[in-house]
């Protein structure tokens, strides 16, 4: 459930603890009669200052409702709840971590057969859905506490675990290159550590782009039948964080080489829209075949899901561009020769 947690209070001082409130139904919404049911709520820690208490008459065991055990609240047991019954309850709990939400993620994966390269670029529009700052941001306070590294509701950094073999990463935003990033290539994964230009407090936004290259051979396979290729890339390669990240909308583009036809894909990420179009860029003759996929409301648990794209790419299509460019240059030479041989001198040639 995305965008369903609300900070209460909604404004905090810079070093305060953040509390979130979540409202749900103690009776699970069901289209059928439910004989026995319980609802268990697990909070990140046992600091739960407020929660709705229901009268114990509703409870089948006539006990206080809910039962609190450490970081778990249990509503129930309820007997014979009719279909469609609702019992709204709220819980307010400590969550001094950023509530990171990407309103939009644009992800491009570009395949180059000639270069043997898979280029990925991701553009994020992030917002912290946590509590806003009550007063002005104090740089002194921030710097003072940064050495102690206490929990904070500001987004300080993002870790992007990339596949091993990722090279040439970049991290830029609207201003330009952001130098506060580290890249640690490794055998198991290549970790890209990003730090935004400023700590992103609640209701603040930050948008940036990251990109990297990878060797195509670990993603692309030529099928034995004909000239068909199969590309397997992760659908989402976003940041990994303990507090999780949610995505409002993800636009994924897989840019295949020019002349690729018969594009098919399969993924188990729920997709709302897909289309195949042409992406035209420099020195293109036809435009590159592009598969666009759109998914809404994803969370970072979909990171491991793969996208498999198969397409036909005849070898002649790979030579189209050099042949066209060669012919173009010859055409220029030929035109220059033809124009150079035109006699443009004034006056008639004197013939003897």
């Amino acid at each position: 459930m995305l965008s369903a947690l609300f900070p209460v209070p909604s404004q905090l001082a810079q070093t305060d603890k953040q509390y979130l409130q979540y409202t749900f139904s103690a009776y699970t919404a069901s289209a059928y009669l439910t004989e026995k049911q319980r609802t268990k709520v697990k909070t990140p820690n046992s600091d739960v200052p407020d929660y709705t208490s229901l009268p114990s008459e509703l409870n089948d065991e006539q006990k206080a409702d809910p039962q609190k055990q450490g970081a778990t609240l249990t509503y129930g047991l309820y007997n014979n709840v009719p279909a469609g019954a609702q019992q709204p309850v709220s819980v307010r709990y400590e969550f001094t971590k950023p509530v990171t939400h990407a309103t939009l993620l644009e992800r491009d994966v570009e395949v180059s057969h000639w270069g043997g390269n898979l280029a990925a670029e991701e553009r994020y529009w992030l917002v912290n859905q946590g509590a806003g700052l009550k007063n002005h941001f104090s740089r002194v306070e921030w710097q003072k506490q940064s050495y102690m590294n206490p929990p904070t509701f500001a987004l300080k950094g993002l870790n992007l675990p990339l596949h091993p073999g990722a090279v040439d990463p970049y991290f830029t935003d609207d201003i330009g290159n952001v130098s506060t990033s580290k890249f640690r290539p490794g055998k198991k994964e290549a970790l890209l550590e990003l730090k935004p230009r400023y700590p992103v407090f609640g209701t603040w936004k930050y948008s940036f782009r990251v990109g990297w290259n990878a060797d195509l051979s670990s993603y692309l396979r030529k099928l034995s039948a004909g000239e068909t290729y199969a590309l397997k890339v992760p659908f989402l390669e976003g940041p990994r964080a303990g507090e999780g990240i949610s995505y409002g909308r993800v636009n994924l583009r897989v840019i295949l080489p020019e002349g690729a036809t018969n594009v098919k894909f399969s993924t188990d990420v729920p997709i709302v829209d897909n289309s195949t179009s042409l992406h035209r860029t420099f020195m293109d003759t036809l435009g590159r075949t592009t598969l666009s996929l759109t998914a809404i409301n994803l969370v970072d648990e979909f990171r491991d899901r793969d996208l498999v794209v198969t397409y036909d790419y005849p070898w002649t299509a790979g030579y189209r561009k050099p042949v066209v460019i060669t012919l173009g240059i010859f055409a220029v030479f030929a035109a220059a020769w033809v124009m150079g041989s035109i006699d443009t001198s004034i006056g008639k040639n004197k013939r003897a």
Partner: protein, 128 residues
């Protein structure tokens, strides 16, 4: 024992229902919904239901473990899961799988990409 414990199925072919194009410049941020007059047939009974709500992350994650029983005479293939209309646009990934064959389901996903035990439910109706 006639109790069928499949945590499965429940598909209400929704996207094909409302295929009318919406003329709006802002991209759609919610999925298609069933008409509000729709009411699922009362063919099931939930024997035992435990809902776990995990608030460890910046979004809430709800897991419903339910044993359902078919109280109809005929075999059923659709189980409906209702959501409030205001909530349905906030639902992230929804997945249903058979708990007794969870490994099988996950295994299948890796190989084929799809499997029959799992399906995305996009059903919604107003609570009476």
């Amino acid at each position: 024992m006639r109790s069928i414990s499949f945590l499965a199925g429940c598909v209400a072919a929704v996207s094909s229902f409302a295929s009318a194009e919406l003329n709006q410049s802002k991209p759609l941020l919610s999925k298609q919904l069933l008409p509000s007059t729709f009411s699922p047939p009362q063919v099931f009974k939930n024997n035992n239901l435990v809902k776990n709500i995990n608030l460890d992350k910046g979004y809430s994650r709800e897991t419903i473990n339910v044993i359902i029983e078919n109280i109809d005479a005929k075999p059923q293939s659709e189980y409906y899961l209702p959501f409030e209309t205001s909530l349905i646009s906030k639902i992230g990934g929804l997945e249903v799988r058979d708990k007794k064959a969870a490994e099988k389901g996950i295994f299948k996903i890796e190989v084929v990409g799809f499997d029959t035990e799992r399906s995305v439910v996009e059903s919604s109706w107003e609570a009476p």
